[in-house]
Symmetry: D2
Subunit: 410 residues, 4 copies
């Protein structure tokens, strides 16, 4: 570990760099660098984190991939009109965002489904005619250029792209045929159109091979296979994921422990989510939605110790834009079997909730890498709906684990 | 400590024995003894408590005081019609409840305000013409008779009576004149109409002098003065309190830590509570309500580290009966200052939520007494809105402290 | 028209006689006859209806069909445990309900889908091997026996059975091939397995041929085809329908006119319905649900004058039983394009809301028949989600039309 | 009536011209004149109003009184930051708003309570040392100058100022002593510090004496006394009021008729309102709030035909700014006495809801004056919480009455 990571330069490479979360994170980072944004929402700025040396906002540089023509500013302007990014803040940061937009390169769209593919307006390789290795190389070239151009000491790669359909190889049957070690999987990279990969896993591979940490903030498969875990360990690099826990699911993992600790029996838990951003439009396709719902629906059983009836829906309602509204109805049974109800409505900006966690995760994953951590970073579970390396969904247990880890690092 | 507390007989003496909470707890206990009620809602039946020997349901006997003519069955019948107690369960337990009703003695109504006093239909002493010591003796006579009549090994006294107006001596100015040791306070017991006491503190004194533990499940002052703490320590007995945390406040102490851990800034937290039981009717008087609102409104600041604007109301809406409905509106600020909102509606039976905690607290306080604990039982903080002996309001920190204590006891 | 319909005997024949709505209507009717139920919920007992002579509660007799073995009492008992029917009321009416149960005959299950068919525990004809005419005759035999046995002056047939999948012939393409007159349709009754009919239309045909009015309280097709309208006119009989408007949709048709009259633009209207009764279980099948959602989703456009984005879901959540909970989120735009939100949660007993309307509709349809009304009864639109004979969905316009009709009748 | 009112110049004189509603109305009017705002929210732009000739937006000029130094632009800027007025729209209208700000004159603060008086930063006469007539003259001078300066054909005076405490003379006892004719009341104008008037009634008197129509959009007393009605009739001028119906109360008058028409019994109706604008700060004082709550709480009884238990609160929560959030809980009883619940949450911009109604009322009152209407304009009841001249609170009956009136005028 260097004498001071804080004084060095850290690149944050965002996959899906023109999306809402990326634009909010980028605008927020610039505002932090200029000292014109409050620290609200940043976990890594809370007192328990004061004891560990984290990358300084000043030294961070943003770049990324997107399958759309660079439109970071356009996205940021839209978010300003949707009152996610304050208009005056955006005006003050515009120049720096133009510079960030220049760091965005054409991404890859390998086997990520029609719903995502049709968003592409840069040329993306025909997935039936390309060997995945070629795409990995393209990604790596972009990462290395970015490092060189900006004189970066380190890079963290963060996946913020739209949710891919579930990898067929993710299913139980397919799992048996799936390579579980890197040496077994690697040769498939040379097979044109190989079904062993999706775009998000190619990004993870690219990062790992370059010994860069990888954060999967989406429900896509990313680095969550055994073979990729194996690769990360071989490369002595760490990674974290899966699917940022920002709203309704966060509340589930906060409230479920209360029911458990009070011995109240949850009979049913219904959650309806509506929102109108691009993520919503992609999730409007059943294949992509299935991936998402799966990660949202697993959190109760492990905390409660039994499986109540659950229902989770995510629906695209255009007029809401980035404002995700969730209604949850929890029907529970108390003493003498008396039925009672808790309902909540959550009205939050999806991107304003996610963006600071992206910055936090970049800092924490970078710090973990500096400390020599290898493989899945289980102590970061509290940031994710489907925490890799942890079966703990109770937010407060996750939080305690995070603080213990921070305490060990300091 | 006896070889097995579980096989002995424990008396639970309920102050306010004809109220909703007492009737639900009594009916529930009988149902547990008959094996016809599920264990839902009972914290002390959760796995972590398996390691400590707690009083067995079978050996428990209920008695109590009330300023109304014994009407436990009438209350229970009303609760059945309000679907708090299942009708068939009540039918099965009726005989035993008749026996419990026979254990109810006329209570005292010393300086507890007009709103409560007018509920009395037994003869209660004129508070301007009686020395408090006389009332303490009356209470003690009843406790000793109860012990003798039922051959009880131990008794726990639990205050479930309506909320008294705040004791003038509770105010900051008055606090300086208030005796802080038992030897200073005790002589006032002989002053006719002394303003140093209210009914709830007389019950606590009566219990402590008999070396019985005392639980204050209400916001009334009970044993929370320095002089009574001093008495409990002199008598080597323990006590716990203040104001059972069952609904809206429970949720506040569950959700506030989430906002804190995510560095989200709560700008305002509004909570409106409506319900129509007797507790609600008593709280409809501003004096009594002031006592309650004070305990509900303090929980946020200590967890958040700052004081957001708060508003708490409790209103009597007759048609709701025992069903307390709370609407909370939390307005918070996230990344880049973006305002967001969480609202929840809680619809719970006040008594069905409180009753199992009363049984839990009787068991746990009895166990603590058996283990020789003295004075305030801070580890029971998670059960209370205004935990005595603890400034911790975060439910999960409180819960962890409880489990640590249980672990030490086992 | 007789001198006094009020003194005569009216039979109410319920299709789906063992379901929740039928059981609640039957128990309610008996309670009204005994004078032990309030008139709450009965529209026909409001002042404007005092001027027309409606069938007296005393003279009404209930019978019906069901494809389950008679289990009216079992249903009523379950509803009492779900606090839809008060337990003591049910006890007082038990004897009369036993008598009603004896009037229930095995129903038909023609082409009503697997989800419904599997509920049958009486022998139902194989739909691939029976001519619909045979089933119509069976229904008519039961109706005539009922009339004879109880010396009834008149009978109204009310469809309360589970929602059938949409008749293929209901679709736009099929519509062209569908017979539009009774003489064209009638011969198909003799075709074994004819796709021209479903159970609900067979009941309507049976009623019309016997010159009995028919009420379709469900979203099933019933009498809503042109050919059945033609039959009703040929037989000089009237009918009303489709799909009782009891909860969320009622609110939509109450609130949408407000937005229209204030020139507020509804951008999106999302409605999620959860409940756990049999109706819910049947609707859990996509085919049956499609029929229902279609009727719920059409009400906004005609009132607003434009089609906002809408979403309607109906989901089966077992723990809720008969208690339908709906959450609606209305996103609207006001002056200067400012976005605002109205949310509501409706928690109602599906059966307690529907049952009085069933009794009202029986009385009003009977009265209309007595007044010589023929064909679709458009003035009853306010009772239905998909009012036949009317494109008016504004509840207050519908209500005004009802009062005008009542005024003309008196 | 002139050949075409549409081509003439109409002055809209706003009392409270620097408040949120006035600023939104002024900005909106300018935007309408420029053709850059949609017609959303404007009732008078709906099809039924096409048949009557209303003042054209182009010919309208805004002026007004305020007891604060002119700060219309400051208010508008704040509203833009609160996302009530779109920022770009405000930019486009800035020049015209500067011109409007120049039309604002120092207002009067006669007997309107400390809560309002302390807002004044212009010199306001000492109410104990001034004869009301002097203030009326001051107001009239300003109105006449405004008319002359802008060559206006007509002026409508609209009261948008903060809610005054209830006039003592408004109470039942005082009512007997209160003059009921203008000749009786007028001499009091010369009494220094007379208790017969408050600021809002002085504005009404000033308008009526100049034969200008007056609209009271607030709960203050304004023109609602018998003596002022008498004055308006003597002057052959019309007026309308009291308290714009924009949010929670609008919903009450929309939903209550539904319960009535379905014979559902409302047992209790609780409404909690929270918001953080200046109006909220003024209403935070119990005197001012009493005036407001009274007008909000009367609407149910007349529609339902009985008085359910009601509770209405209005609380100042600073963080909400202009965004009024209301939670209503309606507990009602249906068939067989089954209890059910409807809850709604309304999240609306107070000013964006009120402003278009202000413009509508100016147009409609002006049109009525042109048509020779005299005294209270009862057909405008649908715009008000406490409609003068009407006891009808049912929104749809009110709306029908409005359309009938419009139809008579055309």
């Amino acid at each position: 570990m260097p004498v001071s990571v804080a004084s060095e330069k850290l690149g944050i490479w965002m996959v899906g760099a023109c999306g809402n979360v990326a634009a909010t994170a980028a605008a927020g980072l610039v505002a932090l660098q200029k000292g014109i944004a409050p620290l609200t929402g940043l976990v890594s700025e809370l007192p328990p984190f004061a004891g560990i040396e984290l990358a300084n906002w000043q030294g961070m540089v943003v770049g990324g991939h997107d399958i759309r023509k660079p439109c970071l500013l356009q996205t940021a302007d839209r978010l300003a009109s949707e009152r996610v990014i304050p208009a005056e803040l955006l005006t003050a940061c515009r120049e720096e965002l133009v510079a960030i937009e220049a760091n965005i390169r054409p991404g890859v769209a390998y086997r990520c489904g029609q719903q995502i593919r049709q968003l592409a307006d840069v040329q993306v390789a025909d997935e039936a005619a390309v060997a995945p290795r070629q795409l990995v190389s393209q990604i790596q070239d972009d990462l290395l250029s970015f490092r060189k151009q900006h004189g970066l000491d380190r890079i963290v790669v963060v996946n913020l792209a739209s949710t891919e359909p579930t990898l067929p190889a993710d299913s139980a049957e397919a799992a048996q045929l799936t390579p579980t070690t890197w040496p077994e999987l690697e040769p498939h990279l040379d097979t044109v159109g190989s079904a062993q990969f999706v775009a998000s896993s190619l990004y993870a591979i690219a990062a790992f091979e370059l010994e860069m940490p990888f954060v999967n903030f989406t429900p896509s498969v990313g680095a969550s296979s055994e073979a990729l875990e194996n690769l990360s360990q071989r490369k002595n690099i760490c990674h974290a994921g899966r699917d940022g826990k920002t709203g309704e699911t966060l509340l589930k993992t906060v409230l479920a422990p209360m029911f458990a600790h009070r011995n109240l029996e949850v009979m049913s838990w219904v959650g309806h989510n509506i929102f109108g951003n691009l993520d919503g439009r992609v999730l409007d396709h059943p294949d992509n939605r299935a991936t998402k719902v799966a990660t949202k629906d697993k959190v109760l059983g492990s905390t409660l110790g039994y499986d109540p009836q659950t229902l989770v829906s995510i629906e695209y309602i255009k007029s809401l834009g980035d404002w995700k509204t969730a209604w949850d109805h929890v029907h529970f049974s108390g003493f003498l079997g008396t039925s009672m109800t808790l309902q909540f409505t959550w009205q939050g900006s999806d991107s304003a909730l996610a963006a600071p966690l992206v910055l936090d995760l970049a800092r924490l994953t970078d710090r973990a890498a500096g400390a020599g951590e290898i493989g899945t970073l289980a102590p970061l579970a509290c940031f994710f709906k489907s925490p890799q390396g942890s079966s703990q969904h109770d937010f407060f247990e996750q939080h305690r684990a995070l603080l213990e880890w921070v305490s060990e690092l300091s």
